[in-house]
Symmetry: C2
Subunit: 335 residues, 2 copies
């Protein structure tokens, strides 16, 4: 244990132990070809000097940083935090370190993120970000960093993906609703620029309604609890809005609609029904509980990290994984 400013280097250890740096290197890399005696000697002086190898130098020499990059729009969403948690778990198991890149939902940030990822010299990336296109991912891959991409259909030499499937569950839910002879049109809360996932759901919503020949509503709103809450306080003043089924992006938005309704004395689910598309644990913490589509994001994170390590070891068999969203019924819908 030392207290000096400068790091102890492998060279100093070698000198103190009376061996060459190659031998020290062999010891820290657990190479077998080294006498127990010298191994011990080296280990002791490593201990005595408090030597820790420089990951930087190792990475430069081996061309492996044991570091993987995670690209997300922000750390501030519960479902992303859940995913991050799953990633960290497996990363630890596989002895990788994580570096975080956020794009703040902006294209400009996304561009500069790509640069950063490349100079950062990560061994691979996990990407869950709507700002990054297939071209961007290919560009990253062209610098020899493989990626697993979440919620985007991209595959290539060094790219695999994990896709979410909401289609079946969502379509069935819509059909079921009208079969229970509900005549109030469903409403879809459209959030501008909220990304692919919501976009795909909206498409399913539209298609299914067209197929059924049913009317529907699109309500524009923001991706913020407070703003949506305020908006729906106004919205629910109109009696014609006080009935119907509202499909919301995520728990916060659904909760905003839910609270605006109940705070205005509207009965949920008797008058107004609500669905959250991206459910987290908050869907069962609010009252009434929210009916929500669930995907275990922690599991997605783990899966992504496993796929990535397989990809890095060139032993990945399946280049794509599909994860079905699960409808969990709560008290915010009638059935």
């Amino acid at each position: 244990m030392q207290n000096l400013k400068d790091r102890v280097t492998i060279y100093q250890v070698a000198q103190a132990a009376g061996v060459s740096l190659a031998t020290v290197s062999r010891v820290i890399n657990k190479s077998d070809s080294v006498t127990p005696a010298t191994r011990k000697k080296v280990q002791d002086t490593i201990e005595a000097l408090g030597y820790k190898p420089s990951g930087l130098a190792q990475a430069l020499a081996t061309n492996r940083s044991t570091n993987i990059g995670v690209i997300i729009p922000s750390a501030n969403y519960v479902y992303l935090a859940n995913m991050l948690s799953g990633i960290t778990e497996v990363a630890k198991e596989k002895n990788y370190t994580l570096t975080l890149f956020t794009t703040s939902h902006s294209r400009d940030e996304a561009i500069s993120t790509i640069e950063k990822v490349i100079t950062a010299h990560v061994d691979g990336t996990i990407i869950f970000d709507d700002q990054l296109s297939a071209d961007d991912v290919t560009k990253i891959a062209s610098y020899n960093v493989p990626s697993v991409v979440i919620d985007n259909k991209i595959q290539g030499d060094k790219v695999c993906d994990i896709r979410f499937s909401y289609d079946t569950a969502l379509e069935r839910l819509i059909r079921d609703y009208y079969e229970r002879d509900n005549q109030n049109p469903m409403a879809f809360l459209h959030v501008h620029n909220a990304g692919r996932l919501l976009g795909r759901c909206e498409k399913v919503f539209l298609k299914t309604h067209e197929a059924l020949g049913k009317d529907y509503r699109i309500v524009n709103c923001r991706d913020s609890y407070t703003q949506t809450y305020n908006q729906f306080q106004e919205y629910f003043k109109d009696p014609s809005n006080q009935r119907g089924f509202y499909i919301c992006y995520r728990d916060s938005i659904a909760a905003a609609v839910l609270n605006a309704a109940t705070d205005a004395g509207i009965k949920v689910p008797e008058q107004v029904e609500i669905l959250s598309l991206v459910g987290t644990k908050y869907s069962y913490i609010v009252r009434p509980t929210l009916t929500a589509m669930h995907i275990d994001m922690q599991e997605v994170g783990k899966r992504a990290m496993y796929m990535l390590t397989d990809l890095l070891n060139q032993e990945l068999v399946n280049k794509t994984a599909k994860i079905e969203a699960n409808l969990v019924l709560g008290q915010s819908t009638k059935n």
Copy 2:
């Protein structure tokens, strides 16, 4: 733009541009001493070849990784995600990259995390983790990596801290409660190993009750919504528990108590009052809304990152910052 496997190096750029690598280095480092003509020539071939400098090599040469480590128990808590979000924002501004280290609430993980942080060669760390002691932080500092420590009183040559203060607000809240001539004893939900913050609050709770000569209760529970919810479903069956004031660690726990109460037909706040110590936005999403102590963790993250960059630039004036928790009244308490 190239598609080859191996990275383009500075040397290849130099050769292609017909200059020495020193010149290329000057160009990418925006050194002034280089002719506009050659600068352009170099920049063009950099563009043409799609060259990105290796951060690894730069770090090794300059002894600066422009990378800071964040040490937290898990990414899976909302308030930590908020903090992370604040950190990323400033990190981006200051051109630092973030690497994430999680200790999973375990001492063993914490130990190995220290090793990892040191070999990772980060320029500094932000630590919000109860598993790391002052000694651990000092050890990290002895390897010449400065730290800002959150919610722990540690200062040193290269260490500064940000502390949370709950004492004043909490004590006043308790005194106010009994002055409103409430005779039902308050209850403190004790979570085993939940860390310093809760421990300090418990101490204030005990001291204030002793000073007032009031009875109190300690209820043991787990740091999990579901478990606490189940526990309190049982707990509230006992009529003697159906009155009182419950002080809970964080929103999830408070919501568990809240829901267990309301689901059992107990009136909140008329019969049972509830306080959350670590409030997040979920405290105003549940119904009734939760009275909670709030600290803006996003702001804490920003502040931490600012302190760290100041520390790194040796221009930090104040080695410690204190942040007062803010009591925000909701519907879960009477006043």
